[in-house]
Amino acid sequence: MRHLDVVGLTVIYGAVRAVANMSIHLDEGETVALIGPNGAGKSSLLLTIAGVVPARSGSIKLRGEDIGSASVEQRVGSGISVVPETRDIFAKLSVHENLLIGASLRRDAAVVKTDIDRMYSLFPRLAERRKQMAGFLSGGEQQMLAIGRALMARPKLLMLDEPSLGLAPIITDKVYETIAELKKSGTSILLVEQNAERAFGVCDRAYIIQAGRVTLEGSPEELAKGGLVEQALFGRAAAGIVRTSPQVETAQ
């Protein structure tokens, strides 16, 4: 069953067209990667699905239901959680409060409690620092906390924006282990990455995004074959395969 269906989505900031008529979809339980260079519009797409960035046009359907005009809160309520690129942990809240706040919309206090314990056993570093202000955590710990906070909502669709950004390889391993576990548990995952190799290790399907458009789509095996990704992202030789699109401004 279709979990998420984005059709013809366009996002514009002032003079910048960040997402141009983009269509992607994700089936129930599927892990889909969005791969593309800086400024391609990946984060904008995620934040628009989450509801904090407005779409100019296009539709977003969750399990067949149009959520384009739903509030952020309603979207969280229907199972969408985000781990933003900037992590955005609440620096002045304790680690524990950061986890608690992830469960803001839940009313099952007792289960929330056991879920928090589960997060602490999943990320023992966080358990050691539960009383500390989250701002004092290292980058890796903050990423764990951002993931833990998102999981506290018991999401049905988890969106992760470059979860390995700026992390040491050993910590990235841990993050990807967690993603693999989640995938096994049946959570649908939309994963933004610049590191195609990492993403291919875990995803069922991937989209290559460039300048606000989808330029390639396929399974990791198809995409890895013949270096299609490298061509799409870096090569001119790919012009024949990759639909060329008018360059949008990318200021970063």
């Binding site: 989450a50 809160e73 985000v82 809240l93 803001s104």
Partner: protein
């Protein structure tokens, strides 16, 4: 006057300023709004007290409380929510406009004369203890400040709404992304600030027995001075600032020759300028958001 007498006076005056400053600082901390209309919560409360002063006093206070809380929530819903994401300058000017509008609406309805009311005259009567003259209302002011400040600190640090409030203050967008209903949290902040305004109103009216449509503004100006001195956005800073301004006012009252007394506030504002020249971010460095205290 002994030093102890001065200390009591300073603490009771300072208590009112501290409560005003905390009410202003809380709203600033949560949504970055410098709320000039805060003085109108105080002023409107005083007029409700005027109208209900004949009732048994807890009933009168309850009327004020209900009215002012609704009034503050309405100001948020009808006005501030409409400009929630506007830059701070816009927010401030909107609150300025609202403040003036309410004041002159009152002048239209009731005129601008000073009104007097005999509310709980017992508590403003003084009594002597070991050579000190203490008014009951002074003790109430000091007590209310301590109790409310402590209660607010506990609320912000140890409750669910408290940490959600800190989260909205730090990162409103992320707070929404985890499902925090930020409008509800902001409404809670307005309600608490209204509660503080009611306390100030009741104690002020009990003490002075008079009000004008403009007295809220002058209290609020002093409240602002206190928040700026203490460090806008830091609640302990606001409390400290309130007490310092109270102490300064009391000191000036003692030391200034009688013909300079009417200009006492000019000296208070001059002191603020000096403080800001030395410590541009206030005594407790300005924090852009609410934090654990």
């Amino acid at each position: 006057m002994t030093f102890l007498q001065m200390l009591i006076d300073a603490a009771s005056v300072g208590g009112l300023y501290a409560l005003t400053a905390i009410g202003i600082g809380l709203i600033f901390g949560v949504i970055g709004l410098v709320n000039f209309a805060y003085g109108e919560y105080i002023m409107v409360g005083a007029y409700v007290l005027l109208l209900t002063a004949g009732f048994y006093w807890p009933v009168a206070v309850l009327c004020v409380l209900v009215f002012v809380v609704i009034f503050a929530l309405a100001s948020d819903w009808l006005v501030f929510r409409q400009v929630r994401r506007a830059p701070p300058e816009t927010l401030m000017i909107v609150s300025f406009g609202l403040s003036f509008m309410i004041q002159y609406f009152y002048v239209m309805l009731f005129g601008s004369l000073t009104r007097t009311v005999n509310f709980l005259p017992e508590i403003s009567r003084g009594f002597e203890v070991g050579g000190l003259r203490i008014a009951g209302v002074s003790l109430l002011q000091i007590g209310a400040t301590l109790v409310l400040t402590a209660a607010l600190a506990i609320f912000i640090n140890f409750t669910r709404i408290g940490y959600q409030m800190r989260a909205v203050s730090e990162n409103p967008r992320m707070a929404r992304l985890v499902g925090v209903n930020s409008n509800r949290i902001i409404a809670a902040a307005f309600a608490i600030s209204a509660l503080l305004a009611v306390t100030v109103t009741v104690l002020f009216v009990a003490q002075t027995g008079s009000m004008t449509p403009f007295f809220g503004v002058s209290l609020t100006m002093i409240g602002f001075v206190a928040t700026v001195i203490g460090g806008l956005g830091s609640l302990p800073g606001c409390a400290l600032g309130g007490f310092l301004v109270g102490a300064l006012t009391t000191l000036l009252q003692m030391l200034l020759p009688p013909d300079l007394q009417p200009f006492r506030e000019a000296f208070v504002f001059a002191a603020v300028i000096v403080v800001l020249l030395v410590r541009p971010r206030g005594l407790i460095a300005v924090r852009s958001s609410l934090e654990r205290v």
